[in-house]
């Protein structure tokens, strides 16, 4: 059985170290920039078609490229309830509630984004 110690070389260690550093710094930066969201913006093919308040519970239907997507706003968070795409990745992305978080459905060209009070471009993210 190969020992990891014998496989790894100096370049690997430098690469892994640098990459880890970049990952930690970017996660921390995004974490500290995160705040609770106020609004939900829904985009199809890059155009904003809806802007809802996160405080009001609703359920809406969006016509995308493939068909109808049902989106639910409940208790300050947003989920995709029903999607027409084959993989349902957007459904699996779950709930989002904080400023800067997004749900994306690539086949449907749909992006749902939460924005804060000031609607700044640098908000933050989680999955």
């Amino acid at each position: 059985m190969a020992k990891l110690k014998n496989i790894l070389k100096i370049g690997d260690l430098i690469l892994i170290g640098l990459l880890s550093l970049v990952i930690i710094v970017s996660f921390l930066t995004l974490h500290f920039l995160r705040i609770n969201g106020e609004f939900v913006s829904i985009y199809v093919e890059g155009n904003q078609i809806y802007r809802l308040s996160l405080k009001e519970d609703t359920e809406i239907k969006i016509n995308g490229i493939l068909g109808v997507t049902r989106i639910r706003v409940q208790k300050g968070s947003v989920t995709i309830v029903e999607a027409p795409c084959p993989n349902k990745i957007c459904k699996k992305m779950g709930k989002i509630s904080r400023s800067g978080e997004i749900l994306v459905c690539v086949p449907n060209r749909l992006v749902i984004r939460i924005t804060g009070k000031m609607d700044s471009e640098i908000d933050g993210i989680t999955m």
Binding site: I7, I10, I16, I23, S26, G100, I102, V106, M127
Partner: protein, 167 residues
């Protein structure tokens, strides 16, 4: 020469099977896959070179997408551009020399290149929303994990099999 083509065709088959098998396993995290077929790309780069590895990769992505019914779909274009980018970067990594980098480091470089290119292609072609770039840290983290695993597997395989076989 023709013997090499037979071996390349064999690797295309192996890669397509790995790719298809993996797509049958549901991923716990959306958008993130292990990329087992990249073991084949790494080995092809090591045994032959950039040209052969690219041919195998492109044929594998076409075959794999036909098998999963995604040929020429957005997913296909994202997969092929990421695959080409990672093959080119890994090829350059191998040229840097194996005294500095093992297959693990080379595979991590490939995984990072693949994820960066895929997110850029998604951004420029499908979703022109700067916010999807926020997903990058998560993709970088997954590159580190999947890249290391794939590199380790490739190392184990090339210790046991030495292609190109002479006959």
């Amino acid at each position: 020469m023709s013997y090499r083509y037979i071996q390349m065709a064999f690797l295309v088959a192996v890669a397509s099977i790995l790719f298809t098998l993996e797509s049958l396993i549901p991923s716990p995290i959306p958008w993130i896959r292990l990329g087992l077929a990249n073991v084949v790309t790494l080995l092809a780069l090591k045994w032959w070179g950039m040209k052969e590895a690219l041919i195998i990769l492109i044929m594998r992505v076409i075959l794999g997408s036909l098998l999963s019914g995604k040929f020429l779909s957005p997913v296909f274009l994202i997969a092929i551009s990421g695959g080409i980018a990672s093959t080119l970067v890994m090829g350059m990594g191998l040229r840097l020399g194996e005294r500095i980098l093992s297959l693990i480091g080379i595979s991590i470089m490939g995984a990072v290149a693949k994820n960066v290119i895929q997110i850029l292609v998604t951004y420029f072609i499908y979703i022109r929303q700067i916010h999807i770039l926020y997903l990058l840290p998560i993709f970088l983290f997954s590159s580190l994990i999947t890249g290391s695993l794939i590199g380790f597997f490739a190392h184990l395989v090339q210790e046991r099999i030495s292609l190109p076989l002479s006959h």
